[in-house]
């Protein structure tokens, strides 16, 4: 202990030789840059780069407070920290509050770490600990990281160490006993915290230099516990880390590098004291210069930020954003965000189609956007389970309640009991006349304290026979519920929409989807047969794509006698069609040669799709890349 005290005292001595008071400058600069800068950067990063609401939408795990749910966490290793993480994730739903919560917790880790390090050397040289905050940006690079899991582990690791160090000064045997017990508890409840505790205590004991042999108990204890974890079959769940997983890497980096960050300046100082750098005096000076050290820390901090920014999956952000916006029925923004994509997935495509449909643009803009390879209106969920929930929502809105139920349950199984799934299943069961089942989904939701109020209000609405009274879509879905019996492994587009139209011939949305499907399949005969239905649905003018299809039917499919009922084709459409035909003629009828020019001028028309099975929309990024 004397040795420890002496080193602490040495470190606290003012530097005699220095003309400038580096101590004061060190404090100020460290505080401003090493403390505030990482925290500000982290705040900025979460709030403006990653967006907490999108983090919630993509990553928030199911969270409830009832005992059966909590018990599932308590009976498995690392469970408590996962439960804590699930709880903290819920705050992201409230935007900036989530950001503040995460930043405060990261800062709390840094502060607890800072206090812990006083046990080594006093606080003045330890502000580099705040670089932890800089590493935290990695959690949100690809919307996979779990910051709270790391935070809670770091927090308990530091607190455990603090406890150990305080007691160590007074009673070494007792401190080792506590250490051993802590290792056991932490290994089960906060598995990664145990690593941190072990590293910190190890360094501390080596530093203090007494009764090191007692320390051997800890690794033995940890090994036994880990053996038990793996023996019980839980290992794969706890330590399943993939190299491409930025969040996990950040988590482990923080846990493992924190002690190194703490120690690095002291190690260099000791090296200087022992004369290792005598021949390289400028290094010696540099290492002892707090301004330079702070600049280094700032540089590291910024470097980390820009590194994370460089690797930030912006496209993934937009994909999540599209799903989020459509989920909240912000149709115009959904369509607008789709334009920012560099690559799209099935979820984005389904949500785009939903948005086009609800904003009344489906038959005007359908061929301005990409089509599925199989030309189906809905992608096959068998190959992509992530599409189940958007499809379930789409089916529900159209009125195909059973298929919506099917896919909502697939999503419930894979994504867990999140508010989105529970609410939809509640509505579906109400529409199916299963009121008690509908209430069960809402009661389940009420076990999440963040959604309790809403859930109880909705239950009360059901009990008062006014279910989802503020939900216009629910009323619409009720009106259009499918009543046509059908049994099969799956139902494809045309049958699907026809069933809805038979159930309720006023289902305009189903009609628009049917026409879009017929056009996508180039089934023009059937599409033209339905011309009368446009009158029934009170279309004032024919939608753009349908007009384009009429011209294809008349000219390319050679049905000049076809008249579009009471509708007159738009002059602008006719002029554009003339332009389209002239372009082909200019290339002597060669579709191959005309392709680029047609794409540039007519890439968003049905005519272009008719010949090339694709679209070319210059306002979309991924087309520009092509």
């Amino acid at each position: 202990m004397k040795k420890l005290g002496k080193i602490n005292a040495d470190l606290r001595k003012p530097k005699q030789a220095s003309k400038i008071n580096f101590e004061v400058i060190d404090d100020i600069i460290n505080f401003v840059f090493a403390v505030i800068a990482p925290v500000v950067l982290l705040t900025y990063w979460i709030q403006f780069s990653a967006n907490p609401i999108l983090i919630y939408h993509k990553q928030a795990p199911p969270f409830f407070t009832d005992y059966p749910f909590v018990k599932e966490f308590l009976i498995r290793p690392d469970g408590l920290s996962q439960f804590f993480s699930a709880f903290m994730f819920q705050f992201y739903e409230y935007g900036i509050i989530g950001t503040i919560v995460e930043v405060l917790l990261v800062a709390a880790v840094c502060i607890v770490g800072w206090f812990s390090l006083k046990e080594f050397s006093g606080s003045k040289t330890n502000s580099l600990i705040f670089l932890i905050a800089a590493f935290a940006v990695f959690f949100h690079v690809d919307y996979n990281g779990d910051p709270f899991h790391a935070i809670v582990n770091a927090l308990f690791g530091f607190i455990g160490f603090l406890l150990f160090a305080k007691i160590y000064v007074k009673n070494q045997q007792l401190s080792f006993l506590i250490f051993t017990v802590l290792c056991g508890i932490l290994t089960w409840f906060f598995t990664l915290a145990c690593f941190l505790l072990f590293l910190l205590c190890g360094l501390f004991v080596m530093y203090a230099g007494k009764k090191r042999h007692l320390f051997i108990l800890a690794p033995i204890y940890i090994l036994i516990t880990y053996f038990l974890i793996f023996h019980s079959g839980y290992g794969s769940e706890c330590f399943d880390v993939q190299t491409s997983d930025f969040g996990k890497i950040a988590e482990i980096a923080i846990i493992l590098t924190a002690p190194l960050i703490i120690r690095i300046r002291q190690i260099f100082k000791k090296a200087v004291e022992k004369g290792f750098f005598e021949k390289l005096k400028f290094i010696s000076k540099a290492i002892q210069n707090p301004i330079l050290c702070t600049i280094i820390s700032m540089t590291v901090c910024l470097k980390v930020y820009f590194f994370a920014d460089h690797y930030f999956f912006e496209n993934k952000k937009y994909l999540i954003q599209i799903d989020y916006l459509a989920c909240n029925r912000r149709w115009d923004e959904t369509v607008e965000t789709f334009g920012k994509l560099k690559a799209f997935n099935n979820v984005a495509l389904v949500q785009l189609r939903r948005a086009l449909l609800h904003s009344g643009k489906l038959l005007d803009e359908f061929f301005s956007y990409p089509q599925l390879k199989e030309k189906y209106f809905f992608p096959d969920y068998n190959n992509d389970v992530t599409v189940c929930m958007p499809l379930a929502e789409f089916f529900y809105e159209l009125g195909h309640i059973n298929f919506a139920e099917h896919l909502a349950h697939e999503s419930l199984e894979f994504d867990g009991a999140k508010p989105r799934q529970l609410l939809l299943l509640s509505k579906i069961n109400l529409l199916k006349g299963k009121t008690n089942a509908a209430k069960i989904f809402l009661y389940r939701l009420s076990e999440n304290p963040f959604h309790r109020k809403t859930a109880l209000r909705l239950i009360s609405e059901i009990e008062n026979n006014e279910p989802f009274k503020e939900d216009e879509m629910f009323k619409s879905a009720r009106e259009f519920v499918n009543t046509v019996p059908y049994a099969g492994y799956e139902v494809r587009d045309e049958t699907f929409f026809n069933q809805l139209l038979v159930s309720n011939p006023k289902n305009r949305k189903a009609f628009e989807c049917l026409i879009a499907t017929l056009l996508a399949n180039k089934n023009l005969a059937e599409a033209m047969r339905l011309i009368k239905a446009f009158e029934g649905f009170e279309f004032k003018t024919l939608p753009r794509h349908y007009e384009e299809a009429v011209l294809v039917w008349q000219v390319f499919e050679k049905h000049p006698e076809f008249a579009p009922g009471k509708y007159k084709l738009n002059t602008a459409t006719l002029q554009r069609f003339n332009g389209f035909v002239r372009t082909i003629e200019r290339h002597n009828g060669s579709l191959q040669n005309a392709k680029n020019e047609l794409a540039e001028n007519f890439g968003t028309t049905f005519w272009f799709y008719y010949f090339y099975d694709t679209a070319f929309n210059q306002s979309l990024k991924f087309y520009r890349q092509e």
């Binding site: 769940e237 195909h400 298929f403 099917h406 069960i440 389940r444 059908y486």
Partner: protein, 501 residues
Amino acid sequence: MNGISKIKIACSLLLLIGNLFGATTESSPVKPPIFPDYADITIPPNIAPLNFLIQEKGEEYSVKFMVGNNVFHEIKTRKAEIEIPENRWKELLKKTRGAEFIVRISVFSNGWKEFLPITNRVANEEIDAWIVYRYLKPLYTFYHDMSIRQRNIESFNEDIILPSSRFDRGCLNCHTFLNQSASSFAFHVRKGKEGNPMILCISNTPSMVDKTMGYISWHPSGNAIAFSLNRLSLFFHATEETRDVFDEDSNLGIYRLDKNSVSMPPQISNPELIETWPCWSADGKYLYYCVTKKRPVKNYREIKYDFARISYDLNTDKWGQPEILVSSENTGLSVHQPKVSPDSRFVIFGMSEYGNFPIYRPDSDLFLFDTETRQYKRLELNSDASDSWHSWSSNGRWILFSSKRIDGLFARPHISYFNTNNIAHKPFVLPQKDPRFYLTCIHTFNVPEFVREPIRISQKQLLDAIYGRLRTLKPTETGLKPQTTEGVEHYGSKPERKSSQ
């Protein structure tokens, strides 16, 4: 003390005085609205407390447990959730074994309102203390998270026997016990590309049987297992109940554990017929099963199974001739899931409009077949929702089954007393510590089975068996080979993503 506090205290005092002296008790001519419905039932003398929720708004609740005219225990609470102390509950059951007790429920809201009393009867016969079930969400095509669990009926303790998360989120299928012994049981797992083996535990020693088997029934001698080989497909309806299952083809076979051989005897493996749901009689002399003619999927509504049996001599390995016991032509319904009582006298089976997958059929009911009189009757315990997956207790006095009667969607384990007059009493749902449990639980309890003692085998041992780290049995195939040589159980449109409910 501010004015509001004074008013509050004054109000409380008035309320108290009112309670003591002035408040009148109004009698309500209706039964108390409690959830779950634990009114007028017969319960085992060794069951956990029947905690319940009073679904009536009030400021205070009073629940009196009366033995004769005496109040045995009273609960006064401001919460509508009534949790009965376990020790007092046990004393109550002990005191009223073979007799009745009365529950009087009152709610205070502008005066006390007392509902009609509930009279519950405590049977003399105990129930098997443990049940084993699959715990999973209502599954469709994909499965991600399910487990086999055991629950002590005498308390609220529940253990996870095996969660699917321990083996790459595979599927766990119907578990079957040898004479309700928890040390010898079998279940089926699906590991995707790695195959669909059966895990066999004999005297707590697990091993893997490298053979896919569908529904299984353990011969009481322990030397043989009857199994079905089904080609099941999950399909969907656009209206009413969404899920349905079609069995394209199925035959029965027998796995002789003593010889480690599998055979498909022609008597129960007729290529023109679909034979499924095997179940041995308790004496091992008969194999009961369901049988129908093959039909294409488009005629799925016409597929109605008969109830049949065939005699078998284990020593000589000789089969008798199949005999139809209940014909679908007469009933107009389809039989499934026969389960023989421990004394072999009765068989409970399910019947529904068509098909053989009752959990998806809301019209599925349970029927009692008397092997002596060859008569059958609809059991009194049925509901409008699906009632299926039944199990006899080892003394034959309790029936455990899955019912969707509470909400029409989630299957919950229900228990019914089967008296000496062959009448099944009003069933009640398995009690839970939290009275609101079934209001918030979005999981379904599938294949509930009685066992006499807890399963003691560890997850690690079961996992070792699943991953082939323990003994792997490769049965030899004798006699007629199975008609289906690969995949065998097609459950869902694609074999690797099978539904499992």
